[in-house]
Symmetry: C2
């Protein structure tokens, strides 16, 4: 916060009294180079980076190119499973956008909206959170897709995804955390659940993730003396009748064989029905107890793209063959977010459209840059046309499958090809060198089983199946629960006095409010009477809030008195042996 | 949650009816090797790792050694400033404990308490949070120290620290975030604040951190075209009259000169008075606007050690010369947590005690292991005795100061010595190789300016100085505020209707509740009328809570109606242009 900023905002408001800009909010940012056309590229994936680079190169002196992305780095997505398995450093699967795009203005910002009439994009950047207007002459939308798991109850809340760097890092941390606890727990059921790993979806990402995860666990086991190899179960679940649907059938069969040899149970023709924090339920009724579900399914449109009121099909923005968005002047779309026809009269057939791969996105970026420059020069645009050169998938343990220029390859040679291909494709010399060196060193290195834990989120939704326990006597208190859906029964038994307390909680009701008073052990047992949903709030955050807010604090004191008849009496069986101090006010 | 666990807990309760264990909670874990003595080592820093390693070596066949640590890795603290500057990967400054201690049982767990009478340590591990009892024959406390900034109002909440890996990573992410925003902001005051970096405390850690941070910024600047080198200010604040108090005065003078040449303003003889999110106030009254305060001061006892009711001095556990804790049989302490006399009759003089450095901790670990084995064999214990071999501090830009075996060295040679020394000291071949290779590659590598942002905490305390703005019109709504201390004035002016609203909020009152309804722009200005403290709750978490909890939702609806006379009317000047969708229920 500083003294001058608001004056400035007011001034800019006064000097620019646009009638339609009754929102007195945005600061204005314009092309810094007068006379040049401003091209804004939204999104820093393969398509965005290659489009921006080529736009700068072809349009040097005429175009002012700016790329906006939520992160300041480009993610080399094909290597994310390697990051998840700690085969490479997380920093090596990404390249700073500013280093890739030396002559392009890079802006790390969150995109709030697009005003097509005003030809501006509204972004928020940094900590001050004052929206900024970015005006454009040509706009390129390359925002990719998002993960959409809404169709599978519980999967959004309980599955890990493999979309960005944070996901890969989270998966690795999670898997190592499971091994750490499994090594020291005395409870065989808990151990089994911790050592069961499930990957849902057997496209590229699913297959490579399950293979790399298997390898991480296999290599790590020698450091966990209390875990035997046969204690570990790994599942790959695919709804289609075979894995790797975009590959030739014989390569997919080879891949299935390899994965099975590694001890991965490949289940095809079966989907995921629902998930909780402790199990996944399949469409065939089977319930697999697990602490680790990785979902590589469910592509949906980018959150912002959804709100733009553009003509969409298959959750992608329809474009013409030149990648222009029909009905919106000066707007282009490409990459996974766009549905680009490869023929003049496309049918309801995916083969008539560009596929959602990095290979295509790069070529789309080049063609789009050429088309924008051609348009500004009054030249003719060219339709996008490209034929896939093939595909590669790593299977772990130095094996892969490859289908390149029609040649089918499997095994170690395919794996070397896979490494070489990705190394050559990885943008930037520094990244190539670092990943190459890391790969070389890996053969002599122990696996990196360092677990850097992130603090758990303050609030989270937790799904329960009928019969699941929420908590049980003897657990350390960790937070407060509110019922969103379902019914949950609390029972407290005091073995010393024979006292018995029982209460059923429905939507809007809550339990665990004792976290406000002290951190000790649960004395009650809470069980889900039907499938349900709870909102969990961590003790620290809940306590801070309730204490700061006398209204809430009083409510809970009254509630506890009314419901349990006083705090200390009702919770008599509780031990203070493991009591921790509550946070003090700063 | 699974079905069998609670039965098991009940069973173990029934079969072991210890009268003193009225707490029906803990599961029991004992030495798995009958006939062996169990030695528990609490803490995995230098002292703990070297003690456990030596205990296992000397006591093989007789001792069952287990090390308990909150993280599953050992942190090589001297390299944390290099991690913060992205000179090395964060994974390379740490080594998995299981790889360092192949024959020692390693347990990643949180220590809840110690029961000296029962000779057990109570820990919580994993996600199930059922406390586990670990029984010991000999207990070694090596828990280090914690950062205690309570004496400086606001510093705990607003300063970054440099104690563990997460701290180093956070600092790096933060600095790069400042550069990203400074590069695109149009507000010169905000830019200045973002480009001012303050390090408090000029011991080893402070000097190395400020030097490395300066170097990161210097190397990164070429990628931020809108930041000029002269826009950047870096301060090093030291309360003593010179930096590096443990070094000879001439080396400290050399270090000061080098830091100054790098553009670091070294302020000595001045302390820190207080801090907010936007400035630090010094004891001479000067206020430096900054977004980045790094505190390397304020060593306090470990949170757990504080609760143990042991004889403490200078916030350290008193021991005898053999590292035994007086009055507690079978309990030993070493490392930074312990105050170990070097002479039989120590005076009130730090020189009479072991210093808190890695050098000392390693030797303490060795001697302690020998003493425990001697004790069990009925042999004589040896007092701890060691003389420092010297010290080294890196100054960035390939310069350092060294004081080794009485020889004083400065400049590039000292820096090479520093690198060689730390490389040789880094435990484990893999880590040595990786750090060595990274250092070699660094000379040809661009700086790693990738910023992997962690989600901000859901609740946080924010200090304000009189006159500070909390928010202003045009900012995107991000959360809800409750007043803990002080008075804050909200004013809303509608320029179109001329309407004016004003209200002062005191402790227990709140503002920003509109986040419940939509995500749009602030229409009001909130200013601190005196120094104060607010609790901030992020929109997502606050909204989830209020919605799940009808009581709270109704309270806010009433409140808004009562205070502002209806939501849409009162907030008329707000624009929905930058409106985002609120989260939907799963």
């Amino acid at each position: 916060m500083n003294e001058k900023a608001p004056k400035k905002v007011r001034k800019s408001k006064a000097t620019k009294p646009k009638p339609e800009a009754k929102a007195s909010k945005t600061k204005t940012s314009e092309s810094k180079i007068p006379g040049k056309k401003k091209v804004l590229v939204l999104g820093g994936g393969f398509g965005g980076v290659y489009a921006a680079k080529e736009l700068e190169r072809l349009g040097r002196g005429k175009l002012d190119v700016e790329l906006v992305n939520a992160n300041n780095y480009f993610v080399f997505q094909p290597l994310l499973p390697e990051v998840a398995a700690a085969s490479i450093h997380s920093a090596d699967a990404v390249v700073p956008l500013r280093q890739l795009l030396r002559r392009v203005q890079v802006r790390q910002a969150e995109i709030m909206g697009i005003d097509f009439d005003e030809k501006k994009v509204i972004v928020v950047q940094g900590t001050r959170r004052i929206p900024v207007d970015l005006y454009y002459d040509e706009l390129v939308i390359v925002l990719g897709t998002s993960v959409d798991l809404k169709r599978f109850p519980g999967l959004s809340e309980h599955a890990l995804t493999m979309k960005d760097l944070a996901d890969a890092h989270r998966l690795r941390t999670h898997v190592i955390g499971c091994l750490e606890t499994a090594d020291v727990t005395d409870d065989p059921e808990v151990k089994r659940q911790l050592l069961t790993f499930v990957v849902v979806g057997a496209g590229f990402s699913g297959v490579e993730t399950v293979a790399e995860m298997r390898e991480l666990v296999r290599r790590a086991l020698k450091y966990y003396p209390n875990i035997k190899p046969e204690d570990v179960s790994v599942y790959l679940i695919e709804y289609a009748n075979r894995i790797l649907p975009t590959f030739p059938a014989d390569l997919a069969a080879y891949a299935t064989k390899r994965l099975t040899i590694h001890g991965i149970e490949v289940l095809t023709g079966v989907g995921t029905k629902s998930a909780t924090g402790t199990a996944v339920e399949l469409t065939d009724g089977r319930v697999i107890p697990t602490s680790t579900i990785v979902a590589t399914i469910g592509n949906g449109p980018h959150r912002l793209v959804e709100t733009l009121d553009l003509d969409m099909h298959w959750a992608r923005i329809k474009t013409d063959r030149y990648m222009r968005v029909p009905g919106r002047d000066h707007v282009w779309a490409l990459g996974d977010a766009a549905l680009i026809p490869l023929v003049d009269d496309p049918k309801e057939d995916p083969a008539d459209y560009a596929t959602q791969t990095a290979q295509f996105a790069v070529r789309e970026g080049w063609q789009l840059a050429a088309n924008i420059v051609a348009k500004l020069n009054g030249q003719e645009l060219k339709p996008f046309a490209y034929k896939s050169k093939g595909s590669l998938a790593s299977l772990g343990m130095s094996k892969a499958v490859a289908d390149v220029y029609g040649f089918k390859l499997s095994g170690t040679l395919a794996w070397l090809l896979w490494r070489g291909f990705y190394l050559s494709f990885l943008p930037g010399f520094a990244a190539k060198l670092r990943v190459g060196v890391t790969w070389l060193l890996n053969s002599v290195m122990p696996p990196n089983i360092v677990q850097v834990q992130a603090p758990p989120p303050a609030t989270r939704y937790i799904h329960y199946r009928k019969g699941d326990k929420v908590f049980e006597p003897g657990m350390l208190i960790d937070g407060f629960y509110t019922v969103i859906r379902g019914a949950f029964r609390l029972t407290i038994d005091n073995p010393e006095t024979g006292e018995h307390f029982e209460k059923v909680f429905g939507p809007g009701e809550h339990f665990g409010e004792r976290v406000l008073v002290r951190s000790a052990l649960r004395t009650g047992l809470v069980v889900a009477l039907e499938d349900g949903l709870l909102l969990f709030i961590a003790q620290k955050d809940f306590t801070r809030f309730a204490r700061a807010f006398p209204f809430l604090d009083n409510y809970f004191k009254d509630y506890i008195e009314r419901t349990f008849g006083g705090l200390d009496k009702s919770f008599a069986p509780g031990s203070t042996n493991a009591k921790t101090e509550l946070e003090t006010l700063p």
